[in-house]
Symmetry: C2
Subunit: 214 residues, 2 copies
């Protein structure tokens, strides 16, 4: 694949394509046209073709796309054909929920460890994973080739812990702390600011009530 | 305030402004220039001024913005000065984590109830809230003026349950199910597709490893 600059907007849509194609594949559907995809996904067909053109097109217009091929290619683009070792840093409610809830393995993630600095949690088992003290992180990350840290600690310590994770060799942080991290640009960060998302919902509800439109 | 069309991109940035202004306010800072905000938030100063101009500007350039005033005004725009009654539908790991983890009250949300269809969970207490059977939802939503449903059930039932919630009178859905809901356009939906976000992180990690840039 050619290395060309692809916008984060296009990248943001790839997981959604991947999700829908996975569903079509599970239903045994072999081919799909950009128009059919457009109808299901509520994105224009021209947007779909334009997005796919960033990656070479994937198939001929009119004749449609091969679902399984497209699913696999998008998976490869996303890097889901490679394994990624992951730790959860913060074993509070949210960290525990993610450990239990996310089907990490299905997408090529290997959930390797769960860390906290609360001694009361040390040794507790969550989804067959023992909570370890944060002090073990530096050694653990190097020893287990951990790529990704899921950061589920309070915002007061998140910035400092993120900086340490970078020193230990992490490549990406999935950040749930309500704070923007300050890490070098070669470290990838994906923020999930849950309360921002809820505030946006409230804005849209109020807006609709005020003038009946968005 | 004039009712003019404001893009979802601007709206998406409002909670982040609100968050940063809240921090400045907590630190006792009274005035901030768009340049200072720009430095902290890593958004250009002209972007900030442009965003604020959508809402009438908020203050004179050069002299800076009054932090507390700006914080309150953005809060009002977001609708956080109003109370919103909220229920969580799905008391599994994620529903329980959100019940425990989110500081709903701080932002004007009133957490009213937690529902599930698993009889084993009925009566269990999560953050002083008893898990109720889904059958009680229609009555409960009407009786308690519930605006917002947090949807934390598996994707197999999410579409159908969302349609029911609409019938019961819900105005907005905060959707954690890995599926796009099919609700009338007057119902506001904010999706949190956690696995999409993780996939995007992996894409950016791989991309950086391949060609050292994003």
């Amino acid at each position: 694949m050619e290395s060309k600059e692809i916008s984060q907007a296009v990248i943001s849509r790839l997981p959604r394509y991947f999700r829908y194609l996975g569903e079509l594949k599970d239903e045994g559907i072999e081919r799909v046209s950009s128009q059919e995809l457009s109808d299901i996904m509520k994105v224009t067909a021209s947007q779909i073709r334009q997005d796919f053109n960033n990656f070479g097109g994937f198939g001929q217009q009119g004749y449609g796309y091969k679902v399984e091929y497209l699913y696999e290619e998008i998976g490869k683009i996303l890097g889901l054909d490679k394994k990624h070792n992951l730790v959860i840093v913060g074993a509070g409610n949210l960290g525990q929920a993610l450990a239990n809830y996310m089907n990490f393995e299905r997408r090529g993630f290997i959930f390797k460890g769960l860390f906290d600095n609360n001694p009361e949690l040390f040794g507790r088992k969550i989804k067959d994973m023992t909570v370890r003290p944060m002090e073990e992180l530096p050694f653990f990350i190097r020893e287990n080739n951990i790529d990704i840290a899921v950061l589920t600690i309070p915002k007061t310590s998140a910035v400092a812990v993120a900086e340490e994770l970078v020193i230990y060799g992490i490549k990406g942080i999935w950040n749930f702390a309500h704070v923007d991290l300050n890490v070098p640009k070669e470290i990838q960060v994906e923020n999930v600011h849950l309360s921002d998302s809820l505030m946006k919902l409230v804005y849209n509800i109020n807006r609709y009530e005020q003038d009946g439109s968005i």
